[in-house]
Amino acid sequence: MSLQMLTYIVVGFTFALYIGIAIWARAGSTKEFYVAGGGIHPVSNGMATAADWMSAASFISMAGLIGFSYQGYGGSVFLLGWTGGYVLLAMCLAPYLRKFGKFTVPEFVGDRYYSNAARIVAVICLIIASVTYVIGQMKGIGVAFSRFLETSYETGLTAGMVIVFIYAVLGDMKGITYTQIAQYVVLIFAYTIPAIFISLNLTGNPFPQLGLGSTLADGTYVLDKLNQTVTELGFAEYTTSTRGSTLNMFVYTLSLMIGTAGLPHVIIRFFTVPSVKDARRSAGWALVFIAILYTTAPAVAAMARLNLMDTIEPTPGNYLAYDERPQWFKNWEKTGLLKYEDKNGDGLIQYSADKATNEMVKVDNDILVLANPEIAKLPNWVIALVAAGGLAAALSTAAGLLLAISSAISHDLLKGVIRPDISEKGELQASRIAMAFTVLLAGYLGFNPPDFAEGTVALAFGLAASSIFPVLMLGIFYKRMNTQGAIAGMLAGIGVTLFYVFQHKGIMFIKSTAFLGDMSPNWFLGIEPNAFGAVGALVNFAVAIAVAKMTAEPPKEIQDLVDDIRSPHGAGSAVAH
């Protein structure tokens, strides 16, 4: 059976499974729609959270980012940043927000700060952060489809939009939870099986986490060999090359951690468990399921890079002839994500760090995981499984994000502010319509230049870190925090973050409007825009506390509300007001 046929069958089967589950578990009430009735087991919720969280970026892009763009050690910012946030979430947010027992994040902000204005600011932050995040998923779906259907990126993206669209119309928290559990199982097998094979091939150790610290057949350690190979080609040493300065790596990691804890589509997952105790435990389980992939990723990154270089230059000075390039090379050339240019006209492939002589002019980060099984010459069914896994990761995250966006629109804006008298049925319909529109918007944005999509990820984490996380944490841990402080803090946090990002990347990412002027890039202590969220969060905390101290303290009933969310007693399941 051909690879393409096999891929169609595996991907088709998993899609049928997801849609079947979504239909089987469809919600009947608003409570089921928003928080799955509040009855999800903490381990199940942990698994669903892991699928919700691990996006196309984690599955498709991260190993490539670590192995190539961030040159090894520099990629630690993602590994640390995207897992450490769960510690913050488990201790500082999830249990108390679960106790609060409502449906959405802006709803907490609105109630805690007794203000519709604060609620609307939170809705806007949530929508911008989540929409930018959806674009990344669309891009991931486009990449996976374009390779496996052997089409252009645009056709792949369109196919992806159609599927997400069907999915969105069926989507609700209950259905999405059970589908995400299935998607987790698919994606984790798809990620770990090729990694196990590759680790076995290279080191004889079936655990990639241990294989990365083991020796190759010739007795040298994997990482020593990799260091040697990359430095010979003029690249930075794999195990020590930092991303920018040490301070930049520090702040970058912190930004991703705070941003992770502040992403609404992750937070709302903890509203679905039966109790406060379960919310804490569930965060632990979520991280266990995430860690399985995240501790495998660095091994995938290092071993794939080693394999790739070994294919191109089997022994030093002995280059692969372009005419003899393997099938996977040809396949990825078709998508435009891999490009070769014979600069010296010798028909051989020279790969080096020197831009003038390097002939691998494009090796997109996104192809590493998807091409990995082919590079390592694994059987076709493994390759088909990886395609299904990449799509599962993108779809599960897209679904979670779409739900967060649509519930902010239908529950917070429509029911909460514009038309409080709307019926339950009307609210659900509005939510589904909002979802459909969001898919169209995200798809449209996915068609825009790719640097737009990349820049937006920085914005999603920056906004979540600089606006949502501080306002939630202060609402729980600082009783004195009031409306004025919260709004001033959010606006200041978003303000400086947007300013720094737009200054580098252009207003709304239109390159020509970047206004760096005479300033050098990363002028603030050498911190890059992607890493600026932690600075924004600091500004938010400082401004919020200063303003709150200068203005009247919040009313008695709000202080009582804070006392109430601090105590786990009497947490019923989530209710609408």
């Binding site: 450490g84 488990a90 610290g213 195990t239 947490a571």
Partner: protein, 83 residues
């Protein structure tokens, strides 16, 4: 009751602070600031600083969350029978 709730909250906050110190020291100091120095120690084929940044911290995060959940469950019982 009020005092009870206050004591519970104090115990919670002090537990969080303790755990967040570990959460900060290991990845940020061990994995980033002092990574170079720690890299002179080998853990099998892993330089130690590199291992902390790409493996060890993630395992630590999991342990921290479960430890917190367990300690809090005890506190919940101690201060009035949980939920």
């Amino acid at each position: 009751m009020k005092n009870n709730a206050e004591a519970y909250w104090k115990a919670n906050v002090s537990l969080i602070v303790k755990l967040l110190v570990i959460w900060f020291v290991v990845p940020f100091l061990g994995g980033i600031v002092f990574a170079d120095a720690l890299n002179s120690i080998q853990l099998g084929g892993y330089p130690l600083g590199f291992w902390i940044a790409q493996q060890g911290s993630i395992y630590l995060f999991v342990v921290l969350i479960f430890y917190y959940a367990k300690k809090m469950a005890e506190l919940d019982d101690q201060y009035g029978g949980g939920e």
